[in-house]
Each structure stands twice: as C-alpha cells, then as structure tokens.
Subunit: 135 residues, 3 copies
C-alpha cells in the first residue's frame, strides 16, 4: 500500500487541473502491479473528474456546462459565503474516483485523464490524496 | 478489514442525513491506520454525497438544485411507480464514495461531511454499508 | 484479489447495458467473501451507473434526462469531434463505482443493478474492468 498527497495551488476561480502524470508516478512508486488506486480531493468546493485531456476544449466545456446548469448567487448558502454554486458543483461531480491498477499503471484508456476540478479558487493550497491498494 | 452497516429511518420524501460521526466511529473501530473507507447506499432511490455540513443551507440547496434540474412526474417510469425523479437523482449523485483513511481517521477536509441522500422517503429502514480496507 | 475485464460491443449511440450478472459472476469467481468490488469503464465517452433495472423505463429516462440537460452540438469540443455531449455525460456520471462484497456477492439492494452507459456508440469494443479486493 502507498498513500501520498499531491499538493498544488490554483490560479483561477474555476478550472480543471490535469494530475494524471502525478497519479501515474505514485502508482509506479508503490510497486503495486495489480489492484486499485483511489484519488480523493480534500475540499468541499473541489472535485475529481476523469475526462479527455487531449486539448483544452473538453475542460472548457465542463466549466461552461456547470456554469449554465448551476448558476451562481441564487442559493441559500450564498447569503453566508457566496459560493453555493461551488459546493453544488463539487457535490455533483464528487471528490473520489477509483481506477484499476493494471500491470503497474493506472488503467486509464487512451483518452482518459484525471483532473482536479477547482470551483472556488484561486487557492494557495489544494490537496489530493492518492491511495494505492493491491499486490 | 471491517464491514458494517449503518441502519436508520428517514422522515421526509427528500433530505440529506449526516452520517459522518458514524463513519468516523467505524473507521476507529476497525483499528486501520492507513487505507480507504468506502461508503455505499443500498437503494436505487438514495445516494451518498460528500458536502459541507456546517449548517443546513448547502443541504437545502442540494435538494432545491436537484428538484429544479430533475422535475417530478414527466418521465416514463412515473407511469409505473411515480418516482422516476428519485431514480434519476440517485443515479446522478451515485451510491458510492471512497475516502482515504489517514492516521486512523477518514481523510475529510475541514468542511467535508458525508451525507446519505434520501430521494424517495420517508422510509422505515435505510442501509449504508461501510467497508474499511488497509493496514 | 481478482481483476478481469468484461468486453462487449454496443449497438446504438446511447444506451445503458446491464452488466450485473457479469459482475456477480466475477465476484463469485474471486472466492472473496467480504470486501469491495470496483467497476471501471475504460473510455472517456462512457460511464458506470447503478440504477433500477426491473424494466427499460428508468434506462430510457436516464438517456432522456441527459439529452435534455446536455444538448449536443453547442460546445467547444464539437468543432473537433462532434461528441462533446458524450464527454460531458461521461464526466458527470463518472466511470467508477465501488460496491461492497457481502457474503461472497456484490451488495446491491433488491432494485440496484449496475449498468455500462454508452454515450458515443455504436462501438465494436467496450471494456469494463472489475477488481475484487478483500478476504
């Protein structure tokens, strides 16, 4: 078993951050050949999404779609913190994904990358916990 | 490894129920220091969401958002059971979340709690299965 | 531990494919009595959803709801591939679910089945990786 955090900052209110290379590196470091790797965003205004990462277009579409579906400023929680939309987006996308480990690598398909989703940035410190379980 | 169910009743058609303390208790009972804990709602009209739990506002917003996005009574399945909206909400939120176990506790951030989402209550018996894997 | 892929083809652009029996078979084959089973769709235009499978109605409603929420042809990525809606649907539903293994079987409730969601078919080869961890 290996458990390690990826720590980074985010530069905008909303955006997808590709953490695929980091997750691959940690799976290799674990020396686990077969099993699962779980990726978890620590933050109630952030999430983890598996998505195509060939260029920026799908990432832009994810942000645009969520903005359109979950408007800002119209919710109960906005009277407290003004970030209810970020919480709703985070809850709907979800903070966790579990990917199989196959022959020592995360079992992504050709077009699957793993992204940290920032919905309430910029933040000086965001954390994703990666846990690899297997044999 | 530990596997145990949380059993409870729900009092309204829709609502979020905070099960964080119960999940923490089971992780401690497992004596597992490092690993993962999976939380699973047994029911096709229920789900599990990780979300802020400081007060009721975000929970209200989740219910209001889902009601607005997934109206009741307009779907195929409503001709059978009248609860298609509950199934759609459950499917989109999803019944499972996987949280890292860090130093003997679930690795929630300060504002992350774990909620059972009821979409077709009230029910006399709802069940969430908690499984802790690690070392 | 057991890890095995389910391979199949899909016949339409969009549809839910019930893989419950296959997942149950692999859990039995693993001889694992207690633990977790993770189900992962390898493909950035596909997903895994746990949902009622009694008849076709809820499956139809899932496809209809997603079509209504995520229209086709209006996104950045459509200028490249014309399938941005498939990517958005896949990202929102998500490729992974983790189900407890209870007494040698996946711990689905009576009305929970597990479905592969095709959002950009037909495809001659789709793959779902099933990993069973436990004791």
């Amino acid at each position: 078993m290996l458990q390690e955090s990826i720590i980074f900052s985010t530069g905008q209110r909303e955006g997808l951050y590709d953490i695929t290379a980091k997750v691959e590196e940690l799976v290799k470091k674990s020396k686990i050949d077969r099993g699962i790797v779980t990726v978890y965003a620590r933050g109630a205004t952030a999430a983890v999404m598996i998505q195509e990462g060939w260029d920026q277009s799908v990432q832009n579409d994810v942000i645009a779609f969520l903005k359109r579906s979950i408007p800002a400023g119209v919710w109960d929680h906005d009277r407290q913190d003004g970030n209810a939309d970020a919480h709703l987006k985070a809850g709907m996308v979800g903070p966790s994904e579990t990917i199989p480990v196959i022959k020592g690598n995360p079992g992504f398909s050709t077009w699957q990358n793993v992204f940290f989703c920032e919905f309430d940035g910029p933040r000086s410190k965001r954390e994703v916990v990666v846990t690899v379980v297997g044999e």
